[in-house]
Chain length 180, copies 2
DNA sequence: ACGAAGTTTCAGGCATTTCTGAAAACTCAG
DNA sequence: CTGAGTTTTCAGAAATGCCTGAAACTTCGT
């Protein structure tokens, strides 16, 4: 590993631990991400100085997150791994997985708590707070879904506009009002 | 604690650990969040069965995240804590803090890696991948900043539109073209 | 200035998570 | 079916992170 790659990999290790992903997994991903060609488990283990079994577990987890793809090179029985190249795609995948693992369970917990009959003032207040949270999360995730459905051209146009969206919205408001 | 609150609190404990925030901190926040009135450290410790010092550390961390506010009740020397009520506000705060702690350091690491002179093919490729990542993160955070600057009325209008934004964009494209 | 009430710090014990090496299991060519 | 090459599993060692109680510190009323 060159010093450049080493710095990148080690930063991802640190960051990984802040994200509930462990250091090893973060480093493995980082290495695969910047690598020119697909890597096999031995190469990864050697570069990062992890045991073979640790690499195997890390790769399993990265596959579960769909952040890494298995490939077979012809004439080689070993498994090679590479990271999907399109950064947007990666972001999407990450968002989907986090949603599935974190958002959905939280929403379902909130829904079931909101179904309960609140027997006292305290519970009624708690439910009101939970309802706020539920509403916000649903709003955000629905919006995110909608956005995600846009093709990337439209999306980048939208993002390029940034805060000027509000002018557009004002404008259409006026337009609608004039028509009436 | 009622069973309703207990369920909520314990879910947040679990989720906390997936987010790099520890279980205790998650539970303390959850308890304060659903509580009707501000709580002091002893009340929290008693409800959750944590030691007094553990509560103190947890509260310190929550204050660092700006998720919890200190209040003094008149005629009581103890410190009381409450969670800001507006869910949007909370989301914003969370996003800002995560940005400061995770995104900014990553961007600055990437920038400095991109300044390096790449001596070989491998590093050149790594830099290209890092550039992709840098571009994506900047795009996303800039956009997020813009959005955040919108007042909540405009924001909810925008979110309400969801994917139909693209119609609006098509429309303005056409409009501009006609004017030319 | 003192003491009571309250909060924070921190070293060490405890618990959880991560990592390893050995062994088991799988895969495929011959 | 055999065995070489490869991956996975898993029990326990190592590392990390968490929690506690005791002590230090802070604040405030008298």
């Amino acid at each position: 590993m060159t010093p450049l790659v080493r710095a990148f990999v080690s930063h991802f290790g640190e960051m990984g631990s802040r994200w509930g992903i462990n250091r090893t997994v973060g480093q493995i991903y980082a290495l695969i991400y910047v690598s020119q060609r697909a890597l096999n488990a031995d190469e990864i283990g050697e570069a990062l100085e992890f045991s073979r079994s640790n690499v195997s577990m890390g790769l399993k987890e990265l596959q579960a997150w769909r952040l890494v793809q298995l490939r077979h090179l012809s004439g080689d029985r070993r498994e090679y791994f590479e990271a999907p190249g399109n950064a947007w795609e990666v972001f999407r995948t990450l968002a989907e997985e986090r949603r599935r693992r974190e958002i959905e369970p939280t929403l379902s917990m909130l829904r079931s708590a909101l179904m309960e009959e609140a027997g006292n003032e305290e519970d009624r207040h708690a439910q009101a707070r939970m309802r706020d949270m539920h509403t916000l999360i649903e709003q955000l995730t629905n919006w995110f879904d909608d956005i995600q459905r846009l093709d990337s051209a439209t999306l980048s146009k939208l993002m390029g506009m940034g805060a000027t969206v509000h002018k557009l919205l004002d404008f259409t408001d006026k337009f609608k009002r004039d028509k009436r």
